[in-house]
Amino acid sequence: MNTPDAAVAFACLTAGGLYGLLGSMAFLRRQSLRGDVLAHGAWPGVLLAFALTGQRSPAILGLGALVSALGMNYLISFLERQFPRLKGDAAPALLLSGSFAVASVIWSLMQMHTEGLGQAGLKSFLLGQAASVQWQDTWSLILVFALATLSVLFFWRDLPGVLFDRDQAIIQGRPVKMIEWLLELLLAIAVVTGLTIVGVVVLSALFVAIPLAVRPFTHRFGPFLLASTLLGTMIGMATPWIVISLESGFGNSGRGIPTGPIFVLAASLLAFTSLLVAHFFARKSPKELPTP
């Protein structure tokens, strides 16, 4: 049986852990949609960086992606501040489809001018193609994961307070702005670093599916974060194996199956199962404990 490349395997499991960790906090802040905006917002940046420089180096494309993702992230806050009418998910929804529309136009224009040059490579950003991952991508993912873990440990005591009740944390004089800014920056960097594995289209489902799968089984912040990270790692570990066995199962050696959808399907299946199990257990045991 075929085995996945070591670089690919490590990249996938690190990405899974990273999305589990950061996704769980975005989930608690009810900002899962922000991850979607970051991912979709990165897409025009990737294309523009390629169009302007003509190079496909991960550093240049990554920089383009990061700048445009952070730009979209800032635009959400800006729009919500300027137009209070844009409530809830209105501004993120507008920006995520808006940036995808912009990217599609750029994509078509590029196709007219460059005759398919290098587009095969760029296409892997859309749905993720782990097979194109190289060791340097893997190392950057490991670095980002280490940074995220350190930041979480750094602000460990204040994190739950800021995520649970932002106003209260401000009143208590906690470093709320700094923590929120750090979480958003980490999320943007994580999204951009993982683009080649999961792709811009389906990435944000991970931010919801992984924390959703563990939420029914833990009632504390620490275990919730840890379980979400571990589950993400496990899904990431399984993904390249699933992709390879599917490919060989269908007699396709040409690396045809995108990694992103497999990643998301595995996570969503687990989340669905976990909700079912939780529901089943909730039926069996009385939900309300006796009040003393």
């Binding site: 608690l28 005591r157 739950p160 009740d165 401000i170 009143i171 504390r220 939900k287 404990l289 003393p292």
Partner: protein, 267 residues
């Protein structure tokens, strides 16, 4: 020589001081030209109809909303410098109760105020949280997850968090919503104890009967400050009429003198 010091002393005697404060949401003013001086060590009730700007007033005092004009001083300090010295009990709808934490975790969050972020919670903090849970009667539920609490228990968890903060000023936005009469009585007694310790409390409250009996200071608010001062001279029929409007005001005023308490609840 002596004058500035006297001025200083006078300043610190008031726990909250607002001068010409106006707060607006868009074009609509929520608070108009507020002048307020709440003495230290008082138990103050903030009273007014729906949409009078009571929550806005709380948020402005706490520095969560920036006034369009005017000055706010808390404990003799600008709002920013008073952070960590004020404890706040919000309405319980303000947060998502599906957060993965227990009652004890919430009480512990109160002790974070004023603690450097790198310092781990010590015996002192845990002791304060424990005492606070005991004061609101939640000790037996301290390990219960938040999403399994009733409304009244959530409200008490918030109260415990504020008590654990050990702040000289407590601000409470409708702390008795969803709380049964007996617990409300215990809480009111607790407020008296806190006041006896020299702390100041500002409470948005609707029950004019208890305001009359237990609060020594009150603020009648309807976008403007209608009246503010010692309860005896402030909570008059005429002031209530100007706060709630002529017809409703009369009802409130009449019933509030009868032994039955009047409840005017928000939403």
């Amino acid at each position: 020589m002596n004058e500035p010091r006297q001025k200083e002393a006078k300043k610190t005697k008031s726990v909250v001081r607002l001068e010409d404060v106006t707060v607006a949401y868009g074009d609509r003013p929520a608070l108009w030209d507020i002048d307020l001086d709440i003495p230290a060590g008082s138990l103050t009730a903030v009273v007014g109809p729906n949409g009078a700007g009571k929550t806005t007033l709380m948020k402005t005092m706490l520095g969560l909303l920036k006034p369009a004009t005017g000055r706010v001083e808390i404990l003799g300090l600008p709002v920013r410098d008073a952070r960590g010295k004020v404890a706040f009990v919000p309405q319980r709808g303000a947060v998502d109760w599906d957060f993965p934490a227990t009652v004890a975790d919430i009480a512990l969050m109160g002790t974070h105020a004023g603690l450097p972020w790198w310092k781990p919670l010590g015996v002192n903090e845990k002791g304060r949280a424990k005492l606070a849970l005991d004061q609101v009667g939640l000790t037996s539920l301290s390990h219960r997850p938040l999403n399994q609490l009733s409304g009244g228990q959530q409200q008490r968890a918030f109260l415990a968090r504020a008590l654990a903060q050990n702040a000289p000023l407590l601000v409470l936005d409708e702390p008795f919503q969803g709380i049964d009469a007996l617990t409300e009585k215990t809480m009111l007694a607790l407020f008296q104890d806190l006041k006896a310790e020299g702390r100041s409390l500002i409470v948005v409250h609707h029950d004019l009967h208890t305001v009359r009996d237990l609060f020594d200071h009150c603020v009648l608010l309807n976008v403007r400050v209608v009246a503010s001062g010692p309860t005896k001279t402030t909570l008059t029929d005429q002031n209530l009429r100007s706060t709630y409007g002529p017809r409703l005001g009369l009802d409130v005023a009449r019933t509030s003198e009868s032994p039955q308490s009047v409840q005017l609840r928000d939403s």
